[in-house]
């Protein structure tokens, strides 16, 4: 496969959030603002790239029967590493994302990519695949966070936009209902876009 399409497919055609609907929980929970969404996405990207690379490196020595447990250990290790690093150096973001950092380990994209891609391809392709998918995820979360932030608190990346006069924004968008609504309409939009191209 061409490395470029390999890299870009995660953006639109196979966008993990809006098309494949993987990792819906973090997508809903952590997108209260653009930074949070992006942060979560990048953390996932890190895990994805690293675990894809490592798995493709060791794929040949892993016996079939312990494939899944081995993958889980590898992935979980990277998740723990991200968790520790963020706690140490990005404490504010870490506390915002909370429980959803350890939950990266069960995010379907990570294990799914390991199974479907990294276990069959070389290290470079796997890393690129991970990066593409991860960035697709991160951008998706970032956009969703951005929309919710603009509508919900009238700001983007923390910058106040003063859109709504006497109120900051429509609070529903930073709360649970807004997450579902924005997600729903974004999925629909990507449906349409993908059909058009």
């Amino acid at each position: 496969m061409n490395q470029i399409t390999n890299f870009t497919k995660g953006f639109l055609k196979e966008n993990p959030v809006f098309v494949l609907l993987l990792g819906t929980c973090p997508a809903l929970a952590t997108t209260t603002s653009a930074w949070n969404g992006l942060g979560m996405g990048l953390a996932t990207t890190f895990v994805l790239v690293m675990s894809n690379a490592v798995i493709s490196l060791v794929k040949d020595i892993i016996p079939d029967n312990v494939r899944i447990p081995s993958y889980i250990v590898i992935i979980a290790s990277f998740v723990t590493i991200v968790d520790l690093l963020m706690a140490a150096y990005l404490p504010a973001l870490h506390s915002q994302l909370g429980i959803f950092i350890p939950l990266i380990v069960v995010n379907c994209i990570v294990l799914g990519r390991a199974e479907a891609f990294a276990s069959r391809n070389n290290i470079l392709s796997s890393a690129i695949d991970g990066l593409g998918m991860g960035l697709g995820f991160a951008i998706g979360l970032g956009i969703m966070g951005g929309i919710r932030e603009i509508l919900g608190s009238g700001a983007i990346f923390g910058l106040k936009l003063h859109l709504f006069g006497q109120v900051d924004g429509m609070l529903a968008f930073v709360l649970a209902p807004g997450a579902f609504l924005v997600f729903g309409y974004l999925v629909a939009m990507l449906n349409i876009i993908n059909k058009k191209i």
Binding site: D64, I81, A87, A88, D168, L171
Partner: protein, 193 residues
């Protein structure tokens, strides 16, 4: 690869071994920064409501009326001299759920500053009690609570309530009152360094 019992053991053992090694190394590496970050957070919260300090002492104190969970006192001192106390206090009168506030008193019992630690109030309403969202709680700065009527104006006090969030405003006052009462009651034994 075909699986046999030995290669499975070897591989899985190897992977966990390496993972364990890497993780523990990482843990050792980040231990200090994490601890520092945690301390930093607390310190910042305390520093915001107290004068500059170089030492801190943590004490757990029961509320003045003896009801409910105890409060945490962070007695701060500079150059061996107690300069103030930050009190982490709570109230259940919030709009929803328990409401945690930290308030700093100087040695005379005046409020230095106060802020929200943790709350479940509605974003946009109750969260205006947070200094990051609005400067509502600056009205308590420097107030001597023995003179200042710690009640919202509607209830005959001196506090301007947040528009449409009287409940949260009241709760905040309640938390401060609890801290103040406990502080005054315990002042005798806590002023000693």
């Amino acid at each position: 690869m075909k699986s046999t019992l030995t290669n499975m053991w070897l591989v899985l053992g190897g992977i966990t071994l390496i993972a364990g090694g890497a993780l523990s190394y990482m843990f050792e590496l980040t231990k200090a920064p994490i601890e520092a970050a945690k301390q930093e957070k607390l310190k910042q919260a305390i520093a915001m409501v107290t004068p500059a300090f170089d030492q801190m002492k943590t004490i757990s104190v029961a509320p003045a009326d003896g009801q409910g969970d105890s409060l945490t006192f962070y007695q701060v001192s500079s150059k061996g001299q107690v300069v103030g106390t930050a009190v982490k206090t709570w109230t259940d009168k919030g709009f929803s759920g328990r409401f945690w506030v930290i308030v700093g008193f100087d040695t005379s019992g005046k409020v230095i500053n106060s802020n929200v630690v943790e709350h479940k109030e509605t974003p946009g309403l109750g969260d205006k009690t947070d200094i990051a969202k609005s400067d509502w709680n600056t009205q308590f700065k420097g107030k001597d609570l023995s003179q200042f009527q710690l009640k919202v104006k509607k209830d005959g006090g001196q506090v301007d309530a947040i528009t449409a969030a009287t409940i949260s405003s009241r709760a905040y006052c309640d938390a401060l009152q609890r801290a103040y009462d406990a502080y005054m009651l315990n002042q005798k034994n806590t002023t000693k360094p």
